[in-house]
Every structure is written in structure tokens, then in C-alpha cells.
Amino acid sequence: MNQQVKVGVIGDYDPNLHYHIATDEALGHAATALSVSMTSSWIPTQSLAKGSVGTTLKPFHALWCAPGSPYKSMDGALQAIQFAREQGWPFMGT
């Protein structure tokens, strides 16, 4: 049996934005295709403060920076992107 894969989606989720809904759905399609159990969790940009960003993001196995700028905290989004790049976390930015 496959272990669960946890994806952290960086962004300020808005259920009125079709591409936010599509992000979770597309991850679901890919997970089904690979027969893996996957959960995606949204991480609000304002929760990504310098100093604690690593603690917040380490539980995930991949990070995805969602569309929909401007972010509530551009700095929070940039912290997460930098973390993924420097620490080697699989990353997608769309």
C-alpha cells in the first residue's frame, strides 16, 4: 500500500476562483493516475512568517505556490518559495 503524500498549497484560498478549485482537483486527478493517497492543504501566506516558515512547511512532501496575486503577504509567499528552493522540496509555481 502506498503511503500518503501531503502537498502544501501556498496561497490565500478563495472558493470563487476557479483555478484554486482546479488546483486541488488536478492534484486529485494525478493522485488517482498514480494510485497514491494524497491530501492537499492550503497554507495562507500571512501564516508564513520569517523564522517559522520551515516548521510550517516541513510536514509536507511537496509545495505548490498557487496563482492569485497579489498575495495577502508577498513576503510569506517568497519565504516559502525560497524554502522549497534551498531545502530541496519538490515545488511547482503556477
Binding site: 476557479h18 483555478y19 482546479a22 488536478a26 486527478h29 494525478a30 511537496a62 519538490p90 515545488f91
Partner: protein, 137 residues
């Protein structure tokens, strides 16, 4: 990451002197474009082809003024439109690091999951299996 300390985005800081991300000459909101994928790149391996069609919802992109600087740095330009404008960048010395100006997620459906997102999730699975996330906890 490029050593540009005052890098700004035209949407949030329109009068800043160093606009790394600037308004596109022509908005891509609701548009579809043909993208040329650079052979040998991570995205090329994911797609398995050198030309793809993708949908956009944005009006901002890399300021062409900084393209040369980007090309000299850690980011590689691995997807361009038919005019040669940057549409995909990736970091080669990294397990999986891809940024696109288009939205692969909006063209995924249950019968045809998007190849780039499948490749991304495969990288997440490998990361999970290698226990890298655990070691760093």
C-alpha cells in the same frame, strides 16, 4: 536569488525602480498559447514532447530587461511561446522545481490528468519515500 535586493512586482509596486515582474505587453487572461519546451529539461521529460498547448489567466511576467540576468543564474528558461517570451523556468540542480506562467491545473481532468502535475506528484512521492522530509523534522 539573483542578487536583486529591491526586486518588485508591477502589480503591487507599480512605481518601484526594479520591476522584476512587469505587466505583459498583451494580457494572457483567458488565452491559450503554444509553448515550445526545451529538450533535455525537466518539463520535457514530464511532457514527453517539445510543443504543448496551455491556458493562461495572468497579465504579468518576467520583465524582459532581466532575462539575461535570469539566464546567468540558477533558473533555466525551459519553455517559451512562439515569440520566444519566457513561459516556464526551472531549477536544474533540484529534485523538482518548476514555475509556469500558464495554469496546468485548469486543463487537467479525471480522464487526462496533466502530465506536469503527475510528474510533480511523482517527485513528491519520491521525496516521501526517501524520508527527506522526516530527516529535516
Amino acid at each position: 536569488m539573483l542578487g536583486i535586493e529591491d526586486a518588485e512586482h508591477e502589480e503591487t509596486a507599480p512605481s518601484a525602480p526594479t520591476l522584476l515582474v512587469s505587466k505583459l505587453a498583451c494580457s494572457l487572461v483567458g488565452r491559450t498559447q503554444t509553448i515550445k519546451i526545451i529538450p533535455g529539461s525537466l518539463v520535457h521529460r514530464a511532457y514527453g514532447r517539445e510543443e504543448v498547448t496551455e491556458q493562461f489567466a495572468c497579465s504579468y511576467g518576467l520583465n524582459p530587461r532581466f532575462r539575461g540576468k535570469v539566464e546567468k543564474g540558477q533558473l533555466k528558461i525551459t519553455g517559451v511561446d512562439l515569440d520566444g517570451e519566457v513561459r516556464v523556468v526551472e531549477v536544474s540542480d533540484h529534485p523538482f522545481y518548476v514555475a509556469t506562467l500558464f495554469l496546468p491545473q485548469i486543463s487537467s481532468d479525471p480522464e487526462s490528468p496533466h502530465p506536469l502535475i503527475v510528474a510533480y506528484l511523482r517527485a513528491a512521492l519520491a521525496f516521501r519515500t526517501s524520508g527527506k522530509g522526516k530527516q529535516r523534522n
